[in-house]
Each structure stands twice: as C-alpha cells, then as structure tokens.
C-alpha cells in the first residue's frame, strides 16, 4: 500500500468533514438506515396528492420500491363509469402522484390501465384518471383483448386463467385501489383490485370469490399498495352513484404487505379485518399479516 501524501490526506480529511457537516441528506439517510420503515403508513390530510407523497416518504421514499430503468404498472380501480366524487374509482390525484413519484425515482416507463366492468372509454374519462395520469407522464392504455394469455396461477380456486400479458411483463406493480363497499366481498380494496389484470369470464369467479381474490394476490405480488380512502363508498358498492353513500376520510394507507393494507382498510371502514373472509384466507395462507396490533404503524398528517 502506498503512503498517503500530505496533500492527499488533507483533501480526504476536508471531504470527510464537509460530508459530515452537510446536514440534510446525510441525516435522513442515516435515520432511514437505523430505523427501518414502518409496516404500514396512514396518511391524513386535505390534499390527496400531498398525503400520498407523505405516505411514500414515511415508507422510505419511492426509490425504495422503484429502481432506475424500471417499467412500472400503477394499477388504479377504473372499473366503472363514475366520477371521482362518487367514490367508485381511485382518486385521480392519488394515481397521478404515484406516477410522478415513480418517474422521479427513475422509472423508465409508468403504465396505467384497468380492465373495467363498464365501457372502458367512459370509465377512463369520467373517473378523471386518464387525463390526470397522462398529464403526470404515464402511458395510459385500454386493455387489448389479444394480450391475454392463459397462465397457470397455481391457486386454489384459480388454476389456468387468462392473465393480461403486460401486467406480468412489468418490473413492478403498484396497486392503488379505492376503499369501498362490495356486497360479495364485503369490501373491495387491494387484493380484489387485481381482478382488473385478468380476463376470462370474471363473473364466474364470484362463485369462489374469496379464494380467487387470494389466488390473484399470491400470483401478482404487487411491490407496493397505496389504498385510496380519500372518499370511500360506504354502501351499494362497488359502483354506487349516489353521494349520500360517500364519506370523506381524507386518508391514504400504504405498505408492502397487501394483507396488512387491506386489514387497515377494513378498520378505516369500521369493520374488523377478521370479518373479511378473503383477509382471513390470505393470512392463513401466509400471504401477509392482518393482525394490526402487531404491526408497526406510522400515522402522518399533512396540512396544507
């Protein structure tokens, strides 16, 4: 090993001191490294965009989930021909913020699509998601019937089923469902939202709905789940239509554990996570944890 010259030694010392004294980036990095991010973040506040940003920050930033060059699918719920105020589709600002954060984190491309139950053109427009996501820089597309492939999902209710190829080909999936009432599944949140990534005769899944939902969650394994509870639909879901069933919670819940996020959704809705059959099945199958008492939950509030 060669000796350091005095000049080099001085340079090194100065650089080190400079780095140590520079307050902000080092300290956040250090704190992020020591205190590992929480299991679940609940973010409250008036602005859907700001609380989404705050939730991601509390989770350790989008760069924890999205790497440079990734192709990311941000999967909202655009299932119905309804306006954001009717709370049947994901809040467009939440979707747009996620798109923006992904791109800032270095994603090569962010895709946004869903396989709606009603006319896709109307659903994309009326939900406000197409416009907001496009503006944020996402590639918004309609589902192309040719791109479904029969795949083995290795599930309990779902074996061979048609899956949308693009959803399997992306590097990361960020699931951003809305929290709302659903008669068959009681609530529809993250795991149920994945039904928008498959084709086939989806109505027949309702005969084994709870198992099918868990099969989908186990198959797609989204990287991150951001549950929109800005406005929730408390009854007559999944499409509602009347504002009298809409309640403003001004909240977003986020985490990497899909069962935990959905369990939190149930709690926000006023139900016990254990009331939901599909949550029960999912946690028994080891897909995640629904016991909120044992999770590290961080609550943040953003006022603007």
């Amino acid at each position: 090993m060669s000796k350091l010259t005095r000049r080099e030694w001085l340079k090194l010392t100065l650089a080190g001191a400079g780095a140590a004294l520079t307050p902000w980036p080092w300290r956040t990095l250090a704190s992020a490294a020591t205190a590992s991010p929480p299991d679940l973040v609940i973010s409250h506040g008036k602005s859907p965009a700001l609380i989404t940003e705050a939730a991601l920050q509390a989770l350790g930033g989008m760069s924890r989930f999205v790497s440079r060059g990734d192709v990311v699918l941000v999967k909202p719920n655009i299932a119905w021909d309804r306006t954001p105020a009717q709370a049947a589709t994901t809040n467009p600002e939440v979707v747009a913020t996620l798109v923006r954060l992904c791109l800032t984190a270095g994603a090569k491309e962010v895709k946004v699509f869903d396989h709606p139950c009603e006319d896709p053109r109307r659903s994309y427009v009326r939900s406000g998601i197409m416009e907001a996501a496009k503006e944020a820089g996402a590639k918004v597309s309609y589902v192309d019937a040719r791109r479904f492939r029969k795949m083995n999902l290795k599930g309990e209710a779902l074996q061979d089923w048609e899956v949308y190829k693009e959803a399997v080909e992306v590097d990361k999936i960020i699931n951003c469902p809305i929290l709302k009432h659903h008669t068959a599944a009681r609530l529809t949140m993250g795991m149920k939202n994945l039904m928008g990534l498959i084709g086939g005769d989806r109505s027949r899944l309702h005969w084994h709905l709870d198992e099918a939902i868990v099969d989908l969650a186990a198959f797609f394994k989204p990287t991150l789940i951001v549950l929109d509870a800005v406005r929730i639909l408390t009854a007559n879901g999944p499409q509602g239509g009347s504002l009298k069933y809409v309640k403003e919670l001004n909240t977003v819940a986020a985490g990497v554990d899909q069962v935990a996020v959905d369990a939190m959704g149930a709690k926000l809705f006023g139900l016990q996570p254990g009331d939901m059959d599909h949550l029960h099945i999912a946690s028994t199958r080891g897909l995640g944890r629904m016991d909120l008492g044992k999770l590290r939950i961080k609550e943040v509030t953003t006022n603007s």
Binding site: R121, R122, V125, R126, T183, A184, D201, Q239
Partner: protein, 492 residues
C-alpha cells in the same frame, strides 16, 4: 366516422346527410305530423333542385358517389347501354308507394331511402365485416411474431385502432342480410351504370319530379354532328344529341357530356322554356294507380299482425323512444343508434315488431346492455323517434324490468352465493337487493344471500342479464313491462 372518446356528447357528422334528405322530411311529416327542426335543412336540397336540377344526386349523395365508383368497373359493352323507360318508372312507383303509405301513418321509407340505406348498411354490415377482416389479419401477424414485420404491423394496427377501427368488434344479427342487399345495389352498376339511381331510388324520383320546373336546361347547339358520344357516355342515360330529347328528370347534372363533346355543342344554363328538347316524366298511368293503391293497402296488411295488438315482452326499445306507435311512425331505420351503442346492445329487429318494424332498433341483452349514463342513441337519432335525454332523465327512464328465474339462479337452485347481478346493477340504490335465508344443502343447513329485484328502482337496463354468469340462458331476464313510455298501471 367519428370515433367515440368517452365523453358525454358525441361529435357525429353522419346524420347531417339525413337532415338534407327531403324524402325523410316529407314522409316523417306525413306519418307523424311532426317536423324535427333539423330536417328543415332539406329545404336547401329542395331549393337547389328547383333551380339546378338533380345536383344532389350527382354531387352530394354518398350512395350516388359509390355507384359512380362502381360504374367505373362496368364492362365496356354495357357502358353504352341504358335502362329502358319501363325500368325507370319503378322508382316513381316506389316513391308513390312510400308517400301514400306514410300518409296512412306507415313509415317504411327508410327501407329504400338512399341515405338511410347507406348509413344502415355501413353501420350494420360493412363496418363490422371490414373490422373483423382487419383484426384477423393483424392478429395473425401479431401471433406469428415475425421480427421486423410484426413491429411494423403493430404500429399500423395501433394507428388504425386509434382512428378508424371500432373500439369493440361490432356484431349484428341482420348483418349478412343487410349486407347482401347493399352488395346487390352496388353490383347492379355492373349491369347498368347508376342502376339504383335510375331505376329504384325514391329520393331520386322525388328530386326528378321537383326538377321539372327548374329553369336550368341542357341545350345541344348547331355544332352537333350526332356522334352520340354524350349519349353513350351518360351515366344515367339522360343525354341526347341534337335530334333527341333530354331526359331532364334523369339527369344528375354531372356535366360530363358538356366536357366530352368534341364540338363544344352541349351547354347548360338558364334558358327560356322553349329552348332545348325535354321529355317530361314518363310514369305510366296504370303503374301510378297500382302503386297508389298498394301504398294504401299495405298499411292494414302489415298491421293485421298480432304484434300490432300486443307487443312481445322481449321487444325492448332504446331509452328515449317515443310510445311504440309514434316511434314506428318516425324511425327511418338508419341504424345510427345501433352504430353508436357503446355495448353493441342495440340490434336491428327482424320480425320482432312485425314486418312494419323491420330493422328498427331493439335491445338484445345477449349482445349488450344499456349503459347507465350514456345518452348517445338519442343524440344521433335524425327524426326524433328517440328523444335526446339528459343524464338525469335517462337515469329515471325505465325501458323494462328484470325478473329472476329461480329455477336457474345459482343461489336459488344450487344454494351457492353468486351476487354478480347485484354487483353490476347501476342504480345508486341498487334495484337488486339481497335477502338472507337459511337453505338446506346436501352439506347441511347454511345461510346464503339471494337476489331480489326491487321493481320500483329497476330501469330494465339489462346489465344483470348480460353479466349473469349463466350465459346460455341467463337466470335474470328483462322484459318490456314497466317501460316509462307506455305509462301502464303497474302493481307496485
């Protein structure tokens, strides 16, 4: 054709042609005693015809343009031949027939009106077929996944998909039937050029009659050598040399004879009554009387059908449809409503509404349903047979009611929960509700939820029938009972 982008209003220029169609104006007025204001635009067509002759046929009518295009393929030896006078009379008989029958409230003009016929044929037959063909070709290339070729074909496909191809492949029951008639009309050009326009078109006949008093004339001057070039080349057989008579009511004012004449002897212009030799309308008294009488008798003949007395439950009309009798007096079967229907649920009727209602729109919940907030069909209807509804009105309008077939419905018949109909029900308070009951199954007693229809809330949109997982024969079915326009007394 404008592609629909998902907004509430549609920018739809196609019906504009119908608004310029005076035959639709007159027959709609005769049969329904009402005048949709937009149809008054056709008075422009009438005034142009009064002054310049059948310019509409030669320069505006899209079917005429298509016929001219096909006429280029007419074999040489047949190009010089023209239809005889007998055949030319048929169009007047058709005109008289539809005018008289519409006077007696039967509106079947749309079957032969060229604009309705063309729009219908394009919407129900040509577009679906072309769309399917294009899809099949690009699908094949997509599946083959040939390195460079597929990349190019996919780029073209994306472009076509964005601007030309339909969003969903359309399917129509009468596609082949309507398509064959359209093909026959086009192929008739190979026998005689503009066969449809000279022999059959009732609008052409109407404009031909109007043009009789027009001061615009064709005159053949002294330079004529009777070379007969103009006579041979005339697409409708209207031209004549200096000795012959010009068939004014047959001339579509294309101006070709003037251009072709080697002696520059042909002239068009405003000329005194005596100038030029002109034949009047030759329609034969017997034929006129026969078509007049058949126009009268076709009305009761068509209506002595049990369906006139009582409609079948399965005949569900689009929202905004006028009461059935009035609706039939206005609908010209142009097929625009079927074309714009987002779910492909509107289909042309065959005999479901009697022969009188052939090709009128009906809902078929096997092929689609009525989208809750969509009001497109009322927006495009040219005659007001379908009223334009606001979204609030639309949400209140019942087109029928849903019934559960308990022998098939899964929760009733199998004791297994299903709930798909409830999930899709678009009414904000859910017209499909649940009752929780204890059922006995081979595995023991258990609690399940079964769907029940709340007839007060149901609007009959048919999404439950369409989405029912029992596709072969849905366990929930909509019928026309309870439709708002019928204003019937109901048990609830």
């Amino acid at each position: 054709m404008t592609a629909y982008k998902g907004t509430d209003e549609i920018a739809y220029p196609i019906r504009i042609f119908l608004h310029f169609d005076p035959l639709i104006l007159i027959t709609t007025f005769l049969s329904s005693h009402g005048i949709p204001l937009a149809l008054l635009l056709s008075l422009i067509t009438v005034s142009f015809t009064l002054v310049f002759g059948r310019v509409f046929c030669g320069w505006v009518c899209p079917l005429g343009t298509l016929n001219d295009f096909m006429g280029r393929l007419t074999p040489k030896k047949r190009r010089k031949k023209h239809l005889g006078d007998q055949a030319r009379r048929v169009k007047y008989y058709i005109l008289i027939f539809v005018l008289v029958s519409s006077l007696f409230t039967l509106q079947i003009t749309g079957l032969a009106d060229p604009i309705s016929l063309l729009i219908r044929s394009l919407a129900v037959a040509v577009e679906p077929a072309v769309n399917l063909m294009t899809h099949t070709v690009f699908d094949l290339l997509y599946r083959a996944d040939i390195p460079v070729v597929t990349a190019i074909s996919e780029a073209i496909y994306a472009l076509l998909k964005k601007h030309i191809l339909a969003f969903h492949q359309p399917f129509f029951y009468q596609g082949i039937f309507i398509g064959l008639i359209f093909a026959a009309i086009l192929l008739a050009n190979l026998y005689r050029r503009r066969f449809w326009c000279t022999a059959l078109c009732p609008l052409g006949a109407l404009l031909g009659l109007i043009t009789q008093i027009s001061p615009f004339k064709r005159v053949v001057g002294k330079g004529c050598t009777s070379c007969n070039l103009c006579v041979r080349e005339c697409r409708t057989g209207a031209a004549a040399d200096v000795k012959g008579k010009w068939k004014k009511s047959e001339c579509v004012m294309c101006g070709e004879c003037q251009e072709d004449c080697p002696e520059d002897a042909v002239r068009f212009g405003f000329l005194p009554a005596k100038a030029g030799k002109v034949t009047g309308v030759d329609w034969g008294r017997r034929g006129v009387i026969a078509s007049f009488i058949s126009g009268i008798f076709v009305v009761p003949l068509m209506r002595t059908n049990p369906l006139t007395k009582r409609r079948k439950g399965s005949l569900i009309r689009p929202p905004g449809a006028l009461p059935e009798a009035e609706f039939l007096r206005r609908c010209v079967r142009c097929g625009e409503c079927m074309k714009v229907c987002l779910t492909n649920g509107l289909q042309p009727a065959l005999f479901e509404a009697g022969l009188e209602g052939i090709w009128t729109p009906r809902f078929d919940f096997h092929s689609g349903y009525c989208q809750y907030y969509c009001t497109l069909c009322g927006q495009v209807c040219p005659t007001g047979a379908l009223r334009e509804l606001s979204q609030e009105e639309k949400a209140r309008t019942k087109i029928g009611l849903a019934y559960i077939d308990k022998n098939r419905c899964i929760p009733y018949a199998q004791g297994v929960e299903c709930l798909v109909c409830e999930e899709h029900c678009p009414t904000p308070d859910k017209a499909i509700k649940f009752e929780q009951v204890e059922t006995r199954t081979p595995g023991g007693r258990k609690l399940i939820r079964r769907p029940v229809v709340d007839l007060k809330l149901c609007i009959g949109c048919g999404i439950c029938e369409y989405k029912c997982p029992l596709h072969d024969q849905p366990a929930i079915i909509c019928t026309r009972l309870g439709e708002s326009r019928a204003d019937e007394l109901l048990p609830f």
